[in-house]
Symmetry: C2
Subunit: 302 residues, 2 copies
């Protein structure tokens, strides 16, 4: 199924999730460690995790063709450099070469959402044109055709979180107004529902059920914005499946049913939108799926 | 440069443009005939044009690997069927098989904007990720990666003309409100500047120069909408070049400078948008380029 065994890491602001894959594409080891911020911390924790995954699989690190990494921030895939990954204390780090020097096998670095889009296709057994919509702290998408990602010229493909969809909308930190991310993201939930605290997604459904009007409004914005992002993806790449990923997918049925209902309302008003089949094509990434780590591993020899 | 000589036709509502390509990718014959509406008319004129292009190239039709067609409407590439190409009197026609039976070589049918996006890459010597923005009666885009088009699951990729960008915008015939096509298209020009007649693009610049306020407003909407469409393409596929095509590109410098100025204004307010480099990446398809016919010919064995 894949040409060689490889290791994948999904490096986030709070944890690093790692997997080892065999040539059947099956996971032989899976581990999560806490992120240690800063270059030395990230490199040390990552190298340690690579060794642990190999050992857990009954192998040596040298038995693997390479390590694939998914990480937020601006990634230069050719040089393996990551910039502006501020939530893990990295302003600029030659992550690929530095980690490769520590573990002795090639390391390929990818944007985390792109990696997750590749992994989602693998995990969910999809093919053709697939869009992956990541609803996390921010909003971003990944698009794949037959499992291969559309990366764009500078690695910015899928950054639809900064697409303005309402000229009269809220100011976005990016400098624009009414961006999709200002309505459909974890940061938008915080802005619209300050009482929800640092992790508003965890208690949002309960608060809505208890009659909290701000929570309801925040969730409605999220649902409409996510439906809008799905429509954007539908009209640009016309996917056969749209997979919802990211932490906010754990809002579950209220979110997904809400997005589907909004898409159906739009389809009822427009045959053109109906032809895109978006409501029926909406899928959710399984809750415990290490999609970004898997996708990063798959993409190492691309 | 291409594997075999082939013929390409761009079938539009008023004319059919045809070219023959040799294996160097050079045009050996080029002809334009009037479109005869209806199935028999379109098939007859197309077959006649194929024979004329072969003769003009000093060859037989059988010397060509096939005919590629670009046509508006909904195209099923597998069956070669075109639906809803109303401006040439076709509600449903098995154009590929029917024309193939008349000329004796394979015929592949493509959406005209997709074909033009492939042709633009070829004609302009582009590579990597390229977006093509067609400003004609409607608004649509084509996206290519290394010359290969993103077609989507049902052939609807690039239909960003029906992306709503202002919830308070004008009603679109598609059933939605504030679609890009309601501000940046030939049909939008007519709606905003009724005095411009059937072909408002032909006299728009002169009317603006003469102080016509409606013409000015219509052109401003067009410019802002086209810039918005460019931003949509930038945020989804992050192209290295955005090529403006379609009849409205003949508005020339006032249009293109206007789009660039709008993109620069947005980039000045947002480092994120600035990083996409859109103003500098904007290009215009040459005025006399038969891009759709060339692209359709190139795509026959894809």
């Amino acid at each position: 199924m894949i040409s060689s065994p490889r290791i994948g890491l999904d490096i986030g602001g709070t944890k690093i999730e790692g997997i080892a894959l065999d040539t059947a594409g099956e996971i032989t080891a899976r581990r999560v460690v806490a992120t240690v911020p800063g270059p030395a911390g990230v490199l040390g924790a990552s190298a340690e995790l690579v060794r642990a995954l190999a050992a857990e699989s009954g192998a040596q690190v040298a038995d693997y063709a390479g390590v694939g990494i998914g990480i937020p921030g601006q990634v230069d895939r050719d040089s393996g450099t990551v910039r502006n990954a501020y939530n893990m204390g990295l302003s600029s780090l030659a992550l690929g070469p530095e980690l490769s020097a520590r573990v002795g096998i090639p390391v390929r670095v990818d944007n985390d959402v792109t990696a997750a889009s590749i992994g989602a296709v693998h995990v969910m057994g999809l093919d053709g044109t697939v869009a992956y919509l990541n609803l996390g702290t921010g909003l971003a998408a990944g698009m794949t055709v037959d499992g291969l990602p559309i990366r764009g010229t500078d690695g910015f493909a899928g950054e639809i979180g900064h697409l303005p969809i309402d000229p009269r909308g809220r100011a976005c930190p990016c400098g624009q107004f009414g961006c999709l991310e200002t309505v459909a993201s974890g940061s938008a939930l915080k802005a619209h529902w300050p009482a929800g605290g640092e992790h508003p997604g965890r208690t949002l459904n309960e608060a809505v059920a208890a009659g909290d009007a701000d929570a309801k409004l925040a969730r409605d914005y999220l649902i409409e914005g996510a439906a809008n992002a799905t429509r954007v993806l539908g009209l640009t790449v016309n996917p056969g499946a749209v997979v919802i990923g990211g932490g906010l997918r754990l809002l579950g049925d209220p979110l997904v049913s809400g997005i589907r209902a909004q898409l159906r309302e739009w389809a009822a008003a427009s045959e053109f939108i109906a032809a895109l089949g978006l409501a029926d094509r909406l899928r959710v990434l399984p809750a415990d799926s290490p999609a970004a780590a898997i996708g990063a591993a798959i993409a190492i020899n691309e």
